[in-house]
């Protein structure tokens, strides 16, 4: 499936911003099941400096600064991305979750060592005993890892209410867990925390969903903005993407933009401004079949 993606972020300020420094994660990567054929990040007004570099996780990051006063900043990313459904994985055929945990701890192969860094706390994912208890219910001894992961995802989907009013970026996971409400970002962080509490590796993925569903299929939640889900490491199968907001293994409807330990490392745009007064931000995402 091939998509044309247009992702626009606009900031309006009540007073001029005299300079700003920004970091944008707006370039889709090439992955085993994804190929980015084209990407262009347009910035208005034209930045004084703009360069791209790969970050620690391999994401292409655009750094740009403006040194002239401006009252409006618009960043638009245009991409042409081909996504292939990675195909089904039989959960029963995946290894027991304890063996995955032990393997991560002891195996120093390139693949496992790389995965191991997604086992530990990060800015937005801090473990608590309540999170550990919540996770444990889905992972009885000896259960194949993917079977447990799917059960956990189904529980989150079933027990948590999708509610954009309930949380913001700063809401800690304990609160999300206690109030059983949140948005895709919270559900992704929550399931990541559950995996990590068991010593399993999970990472955060930001990306897009196709806007218009295939004929006869429901429109997915999160399709009109950027979306977030997570990826769990399963030896033998690699990273498997799970979308707890929609309770499904990601296929060709999910377009990956970037991945890291949590939202903090992959937020689409992050910046520091001088001046500006009040600011208003609007985001629009358009994903069309190409």
């Amino acid at each position: 499936m091939k998509y044309r993606v247009k992702h626009t972020t606009q900031y309006d300020y009540s007073e001029p911003v005299t300079f700003c420094h920004n970091k944008a994660n707006l370039t889709p990567p090439d992955l085993p099941s994804q190929r980015c054929e084209m990407n262009r990040v347009e910035i208005r007004p034209a930045p004084s400096v703009s360069i791209q570099r790969k970050d620690y996780f391999g994401n292409t990051v655009t750094f740009f600064s403006m040194h002239e006063p401006h009252r409006k900043l618009t960043v638009t990313s245009h991409s042409l991305v081909e996504v292939r459904d990675p195909g089904p994985v039989d959960p029963a055929a995946t290894p027991p979750w304890e063996s995955v945990r032990d393997n991560l701890r002891t195996n120093r192969s390139h693949e496992l060592l790389h995965a191991y860094q997604f086992v530990f706390d990060s800015s937005y994912v801090r473990l608590t005993s309540a999170l550990g208890e919540y996770a444990a219910a889905s992972f009885p001894p000896g259960l194949p890892i993917l079977a447990g992961a799917l059960d956990l995802m189904a529980r989150i989907h079933g027990e948590f209410e999708y509610n954009p009013e309930a949380t913001d970026i700063a809401t800690p996971l304990e609160t999300v867990l206690a109030q059983r409400k949140g948005v895709c970002q919270d559900f992704a962080h929550l399931q990541i925390a559950c995996f990590r509490s068991l010593g399993l590796a999970a990472r955060y993925v930001s990306g897009y969903l196709r806007t218009i569903p295939p004929p006869g299929r429901p429109r997915l939640v999160g399709a009109d903005a950027s979306h977030a889900w997570l990826s769990v490491f399963v030896p033998g199968a690699g990273w498997i993407d799970l979308d707890p907001t929609n309770n499904r293994i990601c296929g060709s409807d999910h377009i990956t933009l970037s991945s890291g330990r949590d939202y903090d490392e992959v937020s689409p745009i992050r910046g520091v401004i001088l001046g500006g007064g009040l600011q208003a931000m609007s985001v629009s995402v358009d994903v069309a079949e190409a």
Partner: protein, 868 residues
Amino acid sequence: MGTAPTSQSDSSSPGLPAVDWKTDGAYDELYESAGTLRPHWRPLLDGIGRIGVAEFTDRWDEARRQLEDNGVTYNVYGDQRGTSRPWQLDPLPMLIPAAEWSRIEEGLSQRARLLELILQDLYGEQRLLKDNVLPPEIVFANPSFLRPCFGIDLPGRRWLQLYSCDLGRSPDGSWWVVADRTQSPSGSGYALENRIVISRAFQDIFRDCRVHRLASYFKTLRESLQALAPAHRDTPRVVLLTPGPFNETYFEHSYLARYLGFTLVEGADLTVRDNAVYLKTLEGLQPVDVILRRLDDTFCDPLELRGDSLLGVPGLVQAAQAGKVAIANALGTGLVETPALKPFLPALCQHLLGESLKLPSVATWWCGQEEALRYVLDHLGELVIKPAFPQAERGPVFGDRLSAAALAELADAIRARPFNYVAQESINLSAAPVWANGRLEPRHFAFRSHLVGTGADDYSVMPGGLTRVTASWDTLVVSMREGGGSKDTWILSETPVAPVSLLPPPGEALTLRRAGRDLPSRIADNLFWLGRYTARAEEVTRLLRGTLIRLTDETGQELRSELPVLVGAIRGLLDGTAPSPFAVPADKPEALETYVSHAIFDADGPTSLKGLLDALRQGAWTVRDRISVDSWRILNRLDHDLAPPRPGDEAPWGEVLIFLNEMIVHLAAFSGMAMESMTRAHGWRFLEMGRRLERASATASLLRCALVTVHDPEDPILSGVLEVADSSMTYRSRYMNVLQAVPLLDLLLVDESNPRSVAFQLALLSEHVDHLPRDEQQSARSTEQRLALDLLTRLRLADMTTLAQAGRPGSRHIRRAKLDVFLRDISEGLLALSDAVTQNYFSHSRPARQLTQRRIETLTTYASPDSL
């Protein structure tokens, strides 16, 4: 190791101080065995014996005064008045003999090389993890592993340009590393200040003891930092980045910046443009080549590191990645401070250097390993438990102080996330002598060493360092925060020591420099306000003195008619209200005296003299490195013992009057010092402009308060004004004892030869604004030039006889309406001038938002929500 006799003099040396000595099993630094000194202490103690205890004490008292005068402090965070905790220094240096030192030195530089190689690997190939030499948790679970700094191609390829290490000595006499300091090590400046104080106070003893000098270390430090510059190799600009005056070691930042000749800057003084770092100065942006940072890693860049920190420089990581600026130490070096690394250092040393580790670390178990975890759980009650990763906000826990229940809880927490914990043995640190009331007493001590990277993968060790001692013998916690003290550290040489100086050798041609081109705008702003506060304090003090003299003269008579005028002028200066005489209610004659007491002692903000002095000292703190040591001494003397009189005092204002008289002298001394010792660079001009603006407006305000309403008789008022304005003598020499408004106005308003007149201030202001840096392209006068010239011209053209004319003759309240309008316009013009200077020089945000705001810049960090 032995225990010396207690409470007796060493009988072999008659002039020696008494000792009160015990070591309780700790290594004894002073005695080899009972009554036998370790030989390397002999020259020092003989030296003290030679001058005698009395002389030693005298010299030490003098040196302590010097320390206080120099304002050497260690700030304690969270302490409101914490900017003034004095530095604790013991007169007895710690001594380390030559042979022992050379072993320590080798161990230190080996350790620095090792940590450097570890950093290079972990921020690059990570072979240590792949080859299973180091458990990956120590890196991956560590918040000090800064992924944005991964793979930076460093200028000079060195991560660890500076390295410090805390050493202690265990009961068997061997040295152990207690902690590694790798991101922005502090202490070298305090070590230097300690050395300067001690070597001056005990010059003769110091010379006889053959002590290695510290200057060579600082010379190497300066040269090696300059050598890091990626560009401008001939004249690199090096800045010292400080978190600001409230940081605990701010004294050291400003001290080192001055000693090394680097510009002291805060994050807001720097800006990243085109991936390079610039210093915001009065003359525009100046490129910065090297940053010596005293900010912790994560605070350095709100864009890529901690988003909630506004101490850093947005875009700094990107500038480092682009190779446009060198940072010492490189961002990310905090990684190897983790105590979890310590158990692996012996193996890492073999692996990376092919050598065995020369300086062992204090016994440390990282609970991420099963064997270590078992040991720790079995011995929990004897160990010190710490977070494995220093950023975790938990302090050390001493197992022997925990209840059984608390121990069980701790064990559970460790079992749940073992890799987050380390356990260490607590060392019974050795006993060093301190000077306590003329006797020698033991204290536990630890020693902080300092290293700087030199060319070719090597390190140079400071021959000395900062010795810290416990607050008492009964504690093992060595911390300045907890009230511990410090010592100079003498590394003894077996041969005579050649003096080294940071000054260039004779004969070397110096590049001539004129100061002032890189004055940060923030500093100019602070100097301007320092000038204003100093002048305001001086005016208020003079007014208060005049008031108190009149109040104490009172012997049951009516209030003297000039008192409401003087007090009204005080209130105008302190509260910023329009000047008018103080109205004394008929039924509350004590209201005036109550207000005077408030105006002196009330501590809330600068609406009292006390508050003003606090603001003045705070302001001076922010520009410490721009003020001469002597000026600083004067500022330090400003508020000794200012307490309100108690009710029922015989002469309630007597003491206060003495204080005010001293204040006038100190403030005049400070002004004089600035006049005589500051170079006429921009910094001086801003200090001066602040002072001139303040005095002009204070004088205008006093005249308005005193002369607009014509009193009958007017003599006492005119006489009071002349006294406060320090112009009585001049007036009398011109007009004898005939007091009249016209000649007084002439003298205080327009006589440009009188340094107290308004016109005198404006003539100077006009000259200062002409010399400010400005856009050369502009030929027209700047706003501040026009304003100053306009005010000066108005004064020059004014006719005093006209201004002094009073309306409504015969009425009880005769007003000089023209004078009122004239003086009001002058005051408003002065305000506009101050705003123009603020807007054009102190703000780099274009356009400035509000003229009245002092801090116009605000940084905001934002991130786009990823939800929905």
